[in-house]
Symmetry: C2
């Protein structure tokens, strides 16, 4: 087995069952790096405990603690930092234009896909009646927002199918963080019984190719 | 008057009254660059017209057309591209760690601030009854989401006040895109009669300092 480079003095706060930290797990697996990982049990509310609030006052994973004890949160920020530590393979783009285009697609997939699934999931899940938004503040569920989320996911599938009719990957001809975000969104959608339409041939073919990458098991 | 460098062959699609393109306008003003600008009249639905759909099929501004005719959308992607064209003054950070930290704060301000105001605004504005989400698809307003948005804006003000109690600017000791996003969020909130609490002294002091910068007039 090839040795993987260990990025020392970093600590990754993860939750094995949650979609957002999975984006970082896949990113890390694609890079072939090895980071000390701590599981945060979102089910029992460990993200709200004093100990984790000291790490990330916004009470969300993923979070990445740096060697000076400070903490990075938000997926794109964590991935930007990891890309700088381990540039190969590039998942954020090589040229300035490619980097901008990948950032753009990553935002589109987040807004149109991942956040739509999250609206649908969080505003309907039995265990989240008073936690319909992430973070430390309690918000009650809004059933109409769950429904809007489901409609938006259908639009997202159509939009991605169109984009993938002309491109091998979401942001062009290279696998990138935008594909990771989209893969996580599609798998998250399956948990609320939303699946890619039968006739979305380009999306389905892309999904098949990205989900057999070893990193997808992360 | 000093001459401003003109970034040739770029075309910026703007809307003078809208908050998201204002983020790019302020960014451009801070850089002191001069870009050909086209106004898109969101009030009359020009973003849904065939001509603009060819530029950005997601029907939102800001958008930046590059010299090959292709288009970038999403604020962070556009700003990343412009920062590469004109690095000084840096608004996205100098070191890898600073860049990651600025990206992180920009996302926090977007999610906790700007999107919260947008939820409150779009789900209550008389002119947006069937356009409660940006983009080409019609979604009806959800009054409960407008209310949740208003509650989240109050939390955002408190969170920023706390962050600014230890930092001159949102992401640390340098004016950055995170400050631009926060300034735009605070001004957007005022349009729905939400203002910074009287006792949010750090936030108010920061607001005063950033809103007198010449770029804030953009």
């Amino acid at each position: 087995m090839p040795r993987t480079p260990r990025v020392n003095r970093l600590r990754f706060y993860d939750c094995k069952t949650a979609p957002s930290p999975r984006r970082v797990r896949i990113f890390v697996a694609e890079k072939g790096i090895d980071i000390e990982t701590v599981q945060v049990d979102l089910g029992s509310g460990e993200q709200f405990a004093h100990e984790f609030r000291e790490i990330n006052p916004d009470c969300v994973v993923p979070a990445l603690q740096l060697d000076d004890g400070s903490c990075l949160s938000e997926v794109i920020a964590i991935c930007h930092y990891l890309e700088a530590q381990q540039p190969d393979p590039s998942l954020l783009g090589a040229s300035d234009e490619e980097r901008a285009r990948i950032l753009m697609w990553n935002v589109k997939v987040e807004q149109q896909g991942l956040l739509a699934v999250a609206d649908a999931f969080r505003n309907a899940a039995k265990g989240l009646k008073n936690h319909a938004a992430t973070g430390p503040v309690s918000y009650v569920q809004i059933p109409e927002l769950a429904e809007r989320g489901r409609e938006r996911v259908a639009q997202f599938f159509a939009r991605m199918d169109e984009q993938l009719s002309n491109n091998e990957f979401i942001a062009g001809d290279r696998f990138s963080i935008a594909d990771i975000t989209a893969l996580v969104a599609v798998d998250f959608a399956a948990r609320i019984k939303l699946s890619m339409p039968e006739d979305a041939a380009h999306l389905r073919s892309w999904y098949e190719s990205v989900s057999i990458r070893p990193s997808a098991a992360a």
